[in-house]
Symmetry: C2
Amino acid sequence: MVLQEQEIAFVREVLPFWKDLTETQRSELIDHMRPRSFARGDHLHAGEADCSGVFLLRSGQVRTFIISDSGREITLFRLFERDICIFSASCMMPNINFDVYIDAEKDTETLLIPTCAYKALSAQSPAVKEYTAQLIASRFSDVMWMLEQALFQSFDKRLAAFLLEQRNIEDSLTLRLTHEEIAKHLGSAREVVTRMLKVFQDQGMVKLSRGGIEIIEPRQLEQLAE
Amino acid sequence: MVLQEQEIAFVREVLPFWKDLTETQRSELIDHMRPRSFARGDHLHAGEADCSGVFLLRSGQVRTFIISDSGREITLFRLFERDICIFSASCMMPNINFDVYIDAEKDTETLLIPTCAYKALSAQSPAVKEYTAQLIASRFSDVMWMLEQALFQSFDKRLAAFLLEQRNIEDSLTLRLTHEEIAKHLGSAREVVTRMLKVFQDQGMVKLSRGGIEIIEPRQLEQLAE
């Protein structure tokens, strides 16, 4: 057994199917799990080349995104502490035939259930299968939300909503983000982000500085995003 | 029992979980099923207001799409003969929390498994649950494909690909489609479609006429779409 007591307590807490497992299944699962740490910018998963398994996020933040042939990126959804990252085990799901990438946005501590262990558990436990299906459906809903934003919302609204989301995540009006990073979240180009941020600055909603964006008028941004 | 012999034979053929059902489950399922016909343009499902159940397509063609607040549409995927339409039962899936619309693109014959019957069967049969999960994962993959096209492909390539898809569906180089209909498939505006079709016509790839588009140079369209 590699996991420590407090890590096992965490697993018990965040896995909804824990209560449905037998004692043997529980101990086998714990035996297979490993702590994995990622620094900001590290890849947890890089397309079909990877299939590490299911990551339980103990701390930190990751983003799941897609990349176009020409290298453009767009964020599908982000995961936080206590979230479960399932697309890093997508090779075990025959009908999921698209490639996603998963990067750490902050230093991130995880516990990994390797694909083979998760697959074996799924085969034994209907509760695990059911949980996987629910998780996939949730991510599908996340992606549909993003899709509607990306296709139907004007860019100024999307940028305003993103800045507010970021404020909520950071719990701060000062956002440490480059224009390039924002562009990758929104599937846009750096120049487009810079141009719109300057419009926001002219309207007194934000103040731009080297390496950061300060939100001056959150209410105005909220009105725009609505 | 409302279904006729040949309809029951069809059910046996297209439902992958039929072999896993007990005799009682099979006869209950058949007892609950009803034939439903839709004319071209009819709605099979209109957002969260509807939850008829699972449609088995005996003939015809349907498209699943989303609508923006301002009435813009984009097609997520299309279903054909022998396909199973599951989003018309999405109210029974707690983690699917987005609204889709489903319209008949041609006169369409279906067999309906009402939501309550499908739900009851799912609760009894792991094979049905598993099949539902697989189907949702497949549709997720369909939507991801569309998403990548819509976000990362230029409009001329998408239009060329759509015309070729339509040729394959109709098995004809003469397509009976309005520019408005194409715009709704691609999440665009009619004017944009018309403008691009005129460019295609100038390049000798298509010939436009009242109510139709004739593909003159499929090879050129293929090169463009690639």
